[in-house]
């Protein structure tokens, strides 16, 4: 710690964020120290175009020390003239995607990155065009050609496994099932997968740039539409970031509502996922059972919030509705759900043929998981005890008694069991929440954002740790909104879980991770 303070040019603290601005040549060393000596987790890494402030780009690297409720943010100023910065990837593999993304969106190139290809943009996107720079614009013809997709402006070579008889199985972006678009390139001999290279960002909608066009209070709507099944979590994380930045504290009531609904979201996701895994093994009985239970919960969502995806409940500064008024609805549904869920689990664990498919399929080793900064269900199934509700108690989680579950095996079965255990845990949490009453209004009045104020917002979403980072501009409008969904740091891990498995098991592995494409592609 001292070492960092010594190296830091500038240091400032805000809430539970300690920021250290470092020089270009200290950057790598500081980060290595945090990662290797202090075993910090790289949470998120992003750039921000602050040229209107002091003519500099800044790269923010957010670390999280296990055991402290505190984020260490290493800030690296980069001059526009020499748009280069030292790459962390060789030491911290988790930085792999972040750095490529920065070079795509800001044109700041990581020096010594093992993979020089673009991440976000596909072949048809013009070279040296970086949308998140403030002075960026794009000609109509470029847009047309980008959409046309046929003109190759920057080639994107997939890795070719050499040797005779290798077949490349291209899947997607349009899949046979009802799932999101993404391209997967298997290099296989018959059924055995030797190498899998996913190609994502088909659903890249320029969300982060779009945030900058909306006022902070309106941003919630967009945040809720980043990833469908974790709409509420995204809403909460965004609001939390903005509230922390504005320096306002929401009432106990509001946080109680948010906590409750977060858990509801977790439950319907987990049960849905458990059911969907049955689709992967063609155990239709379980699939339909899971779907039915999920549907009940969705209907509960609609009763509570008017939206099956819990949208419109969050606003910056609080919530719009006091769901505790409908406690009996909730209890009724949960009661039914719990019974159904118990039956479902009995059914699944009782079905030998189903469990046989899940066991030892898609193993993700703890080592890889840690190196790639895997989070959420996948991480916990591989033995990483990483749960923001524990490590950074937000909302009312510090008052609640629950434990974070981990499994060691890291296979599909482990991921299912994690979901099962967390479902039960969430059910008990909701019971606990409903027992006591909470005071305070639904919302608190907003303030105007001080220029260039920034803050983190974070939530343990159903899929794992979710981060937002907002910075206000001069005019109180957003200067930068960075979002990092849990799927973003889990996607790079999927291939490692798949290698050596057989091709027909891939859908099952994929379902067991159940990552969001839209949340990753932004």
């Amino acid at each position: 710690m001292e070492r960092i303070r010594k190296k830091a040019v500038k240091t400032w603290e805000y809430l539970n964020e300690s920021s250290f601005e470092v020089r270009m040549d200290d950057f790598k060393d500081v980060c290595r120290h945090l990662y290797e000596d202090l075993h910090a987790i790289l949470r998120v890494m992003f750039a921000c175009d602050e040229r209107e402030k002091d003519g500099l780009f800044r790269i923010y690297t957010v670390f999280d020390l296990p055991g402290h409720d505190r984020f260490f943010i290493i800030v690296l100023p980069v001059r526009e003239s020499d748009h280069r910065f030292p790459s962390l990837t060789q030491t911290i593999p988790a930085a792999h995607w972040y750095e490529r993304e920065i070079s795509d969106l800001f044109g700041l190139s990581p020096q010594g990155h093992p993979d020089g290809r673009r991440l976000v943009f596909h072949e048809a996107f013009p070279a040296n065009s970086h949308p998140l720079r403030k002075d960026w614009s794009m000609s109509e013809t470029d847009k047309q050609e980008w959409g046309g997709g046929t003109t190759i402006k920057v080639p994107h070579p997939f890795m070719e496994v050499s040797g005779e008889g290798i077949v490349e199985i291209p899947v997607g972006p349009v899949h046979a099932g009802i799932i999101e678009p993404g391209h997967f390139r298997f290099s296989a001999i018959g059924e055995t997968i030797f190498y899998l290279e996913p190609r994502l960002f088909y659903t890249h909608k320029g969300t982060e740039k779009h945030f900058e066009t909306l006022a902070f209070p309106d941003g919630v709507k967009l945040a809720e539409r980043v990833s469908g099944t974790s709409s509420f979590a995204h809403g909460v994380a965004y609001c939390m970031a903005v509230e922390r930045m504005l320096g306002i504290a929401i009432t106990e009531k509001a946080s109680a509502v948010r906590t409750l609904v977060l858990e509801l979201e977790r439950i319907y996701n987990h049960i849905g996922d458990i059911g969907n895994m049955c689709a992967g093994t063609a155990l239709n009985l379980g699939y339909m059972k899971g779907a039915a239970i999920k549907e009940r919960l969705m209907q509960l969502n609609e009763i509570l919030t008017g939206s099956r995806y819990l949208r419109g409940l969050n606003v910056v500064g609080g919530v719009t509705k006091d769901v505790f008024k409908q406690a009996d609805d909730i209890l009724k549904t949960l009661d039914v759900t719990t019974r159904g869920y118990k039956v479902l689990m009995e059914l699944l664990l009782g079905s030998v043929s189903h469990i046989e498919r899940l066991e030892n399929t898609g193993k993700l080793s703890k080592d890889i998981a840690r190196k790639l900064g895997v989070t959420g269900v996948a991480g916990r199934a591989s033995g990483l005890s990483d749960d923001l509700r524990k490590s950074h108690p937000h909302l009312l989680y510090d008052r609640l008694i629950f434990e974070a579950h981990t499994h060691e095996k890291g296979d599909v079965l482990a991921r299912m069991m994690i979901r099962a255990e967390e479902t039960e845990c969430s059910l008990s949490i909701i019971q606990a929440l409903l027992e006591s009453g909470y005071k305070g209004d639904l919302t608190v009045p907003l303030k105007t954002a001080p220029p260039f104020a920034s803050a983190l917002g974070y939530v343990e979403a159903p899929r794992g740790s979710l981060f937002y980072w907002v910075m206000a501009g001069k005019n109180g409008k957003p200067l930068r909104v960075k979002l990092r969904s849990p799927s973003y740091c889990n996607w790079p891990a999927v291939p490692f879980a798949v290698h050596g498995n057989i091709v027909p098991d891939f859908p099952l592995c994929n379902k067991s991770f159940n990552l969001s494409y839209s949340g990753t592609d932004m």
């Binding site: 943009f121 046979a176 779009h210 995806y309 059914l347 494409y517």
Partner: protein, 174 residues
Amino acid sequence: MIKEILKNVFLKKQAIQFPEGFNISPEQTVKIVDFQKKVDTIFHRSLRIRQVDAGSCNACEWECTALMNPIYDIQRFGIDFVASPRHADMLLVTGPVSRQMELALKRTALATPEPRLIVACGDCAKDGGIYKGSYAVTNGVANVIPVDAVIPGCPPTPTAIILALAELIDKVAR
């Protein structure tokens, strides 16, 4: 296992009655673009849908999946989702059509044998929805391929989708 099956067989079905069970708000009623030319082709309440996600947030997908659960149970209407556009009569397109999906969407439409219907599902698919104006989206399916019908809603509830499709089929069958 057997117990479950027996329960399933003999207990009352969970599926909601059609159309009584469908409480549906006015703004979710279906606006159907004219497609009389296809009237005499798709018939007999057999409709095979190929769902294409063109950059949606995945909520619409989950609603489409929900169509197949025991409550909405779309297969009873002779509607089914298929794996290949070659087998499909209808493309159900969701999302604002991100630029990086434009080509894929066009090719999917190309791969679908005539006569076919193309339905834009959800507010994003209608006109870009919340994403309207972002540099990376084309503001709606209609800007990429000709659209036959639009289902509004963010996301449109399963009931809304079913009503829309039912109306479609009736129109087409007539």
